[in-house]
Structures are given as C-alpha cells and as structure tokens.
C-alpha cells in the first residue's frame, strides 16, 4: 500500500541536510507551512538556500529561520516589507545573500524546473538591472532574457486536503506557489489541514497530483475551516 502520510512534522523534515535548497510555499502568510518550518527550525539544518516569494513576515515561519541564522541565501521577489525586520537586519549585516527575481520570473523558473526544461526566454526584466550580465535574444521582434530553472532538494508547502497517495487541493489564494514548487523539488512535503480517505478528493479538482508529493502531514492547523 502506498502511504505518504506521516504523523509528525519532525519526521517529515528529519533528512533536510545542511546546505539544502528548500522551497517554501506561501505568498505573505497565505499558504505558509508554519508547522513544517517550525519543525525545520527545531531540526537545526543550516546554510540553507530558501526560495519563497518574500523574506519572512513578523517573527514566525521563514522570519524565524532567518532570525536563527539558518539561511545563507534567499531567492525571492519581494523581501522588503513592513514586518521583514529579521531579513532586513541579516541583509544589512551581510549575513544573508539575496537573489532578487521578478515574481513572474520566479514562478516561471520554478515551473521550468517542474517541466524539465533546460532554460527559458522570458520577456520580464529586459533592459533592467535584473537582466544585467544575462544572455538576451530578440525573437519575432520582442526582447527576451535567458533564465534558468530553479530546482530544489525539498519543497515545504501548505495545502488544504491531501490523501495517502499525495494528491492535494488548496484553499483560495493559499494555492499560489505550492503547485509549482511541488513539481520542482526532489522531495515535496505538504502540510495539510486534514488527510482524507483515498477517493475523497474529486479527481477533476485535484490541483497537485500525488506523483509530485512525497510526504503529507496533517497538522490540523486549518484556519477558517478549523473554526
């Protein structure tokens, strides 16, 4: 029997190694896999490269990883926010490396990895600082920048429901980068509000097919639904 469910986040992240590249889902706090990040913090892996749209909000989640100096490098589109104080401090202290990627290129590069492409020509950023030093090409009268896929060792994502085969559905805008990261990581770990029996998800409405997911942990941390 295939059973990708685990009962603890600790077990789910136990093999994240120092120096690993870890994608973390979420846009702001929507879709942020808090329980998995807490477990990763407790687990202690260091020198991580993190891929996320932001660079942490407040004191929890990704911000806590940064605060505890676990992150060597971050790939994101929008690090500077009102409550990104831990990133700001680490960045100004020269303790964290930043690769700034426009949000659509971030999505496209993660998606390119998931689609097994070697590189893509994207229109975004042409003629800007973002494209400095990068290969460009004119195709059918439009200018493009060559961008490479973003792969990861692990993806930590949050979904709404999952089953033991790893199929996932998301909730509202908490979907965001989750389905893309699941496709791009060697090992995708999904934190879900609840595990449902096999067949409990509508096969027409599954967003992430189980083939892209290695581990599913029910945390019971659902927001609205849990109320």
């Amino acid at each position: 029997m295939i059973d990708k469910t685990l009962t603890s986040c600790e077990a789910a992240v136990a093999d994240v190694h120092d120096g690993a590249t870890v994608m973390i889902g979420g846009f702001g706090t929507a879709g942020m896999p808090y329980a998995l990040i807490d477990a990763l913090l407790a687990q202690g892996a260091r020198e991580l490269t993190i891929v996320n749209n932001n660079a942490g909000n407040g004191d929890t989640g990704l911000a806590a990883l940064i605060r505890h100096r676990r992150v060597r490098r971050i790939v994101c589109s929008f690090p500077r926010q009102a409550d990104s104080q831990h990133f700001d401090a680490a960045y100004r202290a020269g303790e964290i490396e930043l690769e700034l990627v426009p949000q659509g290129n971030l999505a496209a590069r993660i998606h390119a990895a998931g689609n097994g492409l070697g590189a893509i020509y994207t229109p975004t950023g042409y003629g800007t600082r973002i494209a400095e030093g990068k290969e460009t090409r004119e195709i059918d009268g439009r200018h493009y920048v060559l961008e490479y896929p973003l792969h990861a060792d692990f993806a930590l994502i949050r979904a709404h429901r999952g089953d033991r085969w790893g199929n996932l559905v998301y909730r509202k805008t908490a979907r965001n980068f989750g389905p893309l990261m699941a496709m791009a990581a060697k090992c995708t770990i999904a934190e879900v509000d609840a595990v449902v029996p096999l067949g409990g998800l509508d096969p027409e409405a599954v967003v992430t097919p189980g083939i892209f997911v290695q581990r599913v942990v029910a945390t019971g941390l659902g927001r609205q639904e849990a109320a």
Binding site: F27, G28, T29, A30, G31, S77, F78, P79, R80, Q81, F87, D88, Y91, R92, L98, L100, V101, P102, Q103, G104, N105, L106, A107, A108, I110, H111, T122, P123, T124, G125, Y126, G127, T128, R129, I130, Y170, R171, K172, T173, A174, R175, N176, F177, G178, P179, L180, V207, R223, Q224
Partner: protein
Amino acid sequence: MNRLGRDAIAARVARDIPEGAYVNLGIGLPTRVADFLPADKEIVLHSENGLLGMGPAPAPGEEDPDLINAGKQPVTLLAGGCYFHHADSFAMMRSGRLDVCVLGAFQVSAHGDLANWSTGAPDAIPAVGGAMDLAIGARQVFVMMELLTRDGASKLVAECSYPLTGLRCVSRVYTDLGVFAVGAQGARVIETVDGVSLDALRRLTGLPLDWAATNGENAA
C-alpha cells in the same frame, strides 16, 4: 494651482476602464481605483497571487487569511471568480490577456519607460515583486502618480534616472495636474485639471508638451 486629491485621480483612472476589461491594480495607491469602478459595469479584477474576479474588502470579522490580494490585504471573491497558481496567474499577463494594469511610479519617461521599483539608493533593500511582469505584460499600462515630487521635480521626465522597471511600456499617466499620453511620439497632454494651462505643465515638466491629437487616442 488646483490639484486633484488621490481619490480624484483614482476616479479619473476608473473612468477610462471599459466594461469587460481584465484589470490589475498595483499595490498601494492604484488599489483605490477599485472604489470608483461603476457598480453597474462588470470589470474583472486580477490579483497576481492567484485570483480573478476579486471583490471588495470583506466586512469586519469576515476576513479570511487565505483570501488576500497582492498587497496582502483581505479581499473577497465575486461569483464567476476563480483561483489558480502563480504560473497561470503570470501567464495571464505575459500572454497579453490583461487589458489594463494601473501602477504607481517614481518616474515615467516621455517615451513610456517606467521606473517604479527602486530609487537606486545604495543602502536600500531591493524589492521588485510583480511590477516588472505587469509592466511588460498588460496591453495597456496606466501610471497613477502625483506629477511632482515633494521637492517640486517632475516625475514625468525625458529619460528616467532611476532604475527601470520596463522599457516603453506605459501608455497613460494620470496625475494630480493632468492626464498624459506617453509613447513613441513622446509625451502629450490629454487633459488638464481646471485652471492648469498647457504652459504650466510645460514649465513644471520641462518637456515640449502639446495636446494629444484626440483625447481618445491610446485609450483602453
């Protein structure tokens, strides 16, 4: 000199958005445009974090942390709206499906270059978000800004001095003193605020402005 307040600029932008348009309102000031869209017309708002058919802010107590806009504020979903992942969301821009996006700016050049993500200050933490994708992706990019900085410098310029967001991507600039068309033919004035003359705009911007041939050109 008369100046439009921010809500009045937002209302002016809203007037140029036709029924049936797919529209992305950038974070910050452009978000206010939503408040002035006519209730009797269907205009579909896109938010790059994965929704189409975005509705107004929920009633207090009804906020759902899983339903937010690109500015991370709680929103609602209209009937007919739907959710999708980030790649599909940016595909909507990149494949030319968004009719209009409205962005704020530090500077816009007469030929439509946009600078709105960085002032180039050496100690600033850079952040670009979806601005570069929106700038080159939407069919028409409307910029909404005050014409002058606090120091009185024009933000409509011959060439941008700040780092660019996108090249020759802006078509209209809505300001507190007038509405401008920008692009291959340079900057032209579509309309001015009551009591503001063409000469006053020439003096304030330092640009050789003329009236646009028709008020309607380049409109959405």
